[in-house]
Symmetry: C2
Subunit: 207 residues, 2 copies
Amino acid sequence: MKRVKVLKPVLVSNQQRAKENRSMFDRMNSLVINIIASPGAGKTSVIKNIVRHFKSRHQILVIEGDIKGQIDSQSISKLGVDVIQINTATECHLDAFMTAQVLPQIKKRYDLILVENVGNLVCPAEFDIGEDYKLAILSTPEGDDKPMKYPLLFHLAKVVVINKSDLLPYLDFDPQVAKKGIRRENPKAIISVASGDILKARFRKNF
Amino acid sequence: MKRVKVLKPVLVSNQQRAKENRSMFDRMNSLVINIIASPGAGKTSVIKNIVRHFKSRHQILVIEGDIKGQIDSQSISKLGVDVIQINTATECHLDAFMTAQVLPQIKKRYDLILVENVGNLVCPAEFDIGEDYKLAILSTPEGDDKPMKYPLLFHLAKVVVINKSDLLPYLDFDPQVAKKGIRRENPKAIISVASGDILKARFRKNF
């Protein structure tokens, strides 16, 4: 498989570039969170809730990764925070190089940089972009078996949000099964069960 | 971006291999459907419903693509059909080479071969595996904007299932918006709104 042969050097050079991005974020004293989930799991909603909660006290930047279009950027910028769009065209993830390309657009210091990765449980987990940590979102309609089937993301994420808990009465989703699956990959993960109004306590710890 | 540089020759050689797979499937007179959707959109449930409906009259094989594990293979094989598992390890999609690798395991003729791709809206759409057509599943909790944000799959799929319609009363999902998004990419797509018991009429046409 040719693709596997070339992936390794790409990942090595990505790692070097991620290290440089991380140094830059550290010099700006910005907390950078790489938010990863399936399409429609609630990445944009989680970001909006974090923005609403913290924007009065903190400078926030959102970096929006999408294959195509600016739907989410437009709706987030209405909240009055700065947004930078990255369109990946065919790529199913953000990587450290794409992130580095938009760094010159950052003209002031931000306390918090929220990066919305492309909707995908697989590839985005493989690419460090220089973030402080990964936040994974698992949406209840996806099923409680997903941490077992897509282990890498749950292994790497510092925070896992089990989202859309308001749908639990209508679904065959057992939060205990999901939590057990996450803990098997990552015993130290911070797991929040959330819907709509989200995650305030968990994020506060980082400020 | 080094990855883009190498992707093109990989896709060209994938296309050649897909053509060879397609010839083999044609010689066996098998209808091969490549089923693509996000994690948890209902690929396995759709497959099970198709199997239940057609297994008494047709020989069916299921090829299961997963990063890791055999959860779905085990539950599908309980229905009494043959299942072949492909574990992709780090790859976020099936390609024509992985499919070719399991072809020698096919020891008899099947009328219908259902291939469950890795849960992902992006990469699996890029790789022809030699199928007759792609079937995309869009689950209502993912949101009605997904055809706009992940256009390639909806552009290529012959059939699109809007699944989990039983959740519509609890969601902010407008089937007309979703259908319009799909039709913009693919005016000829066959669109079915489904939940649970699914799609019989649409599949019958292919037999």
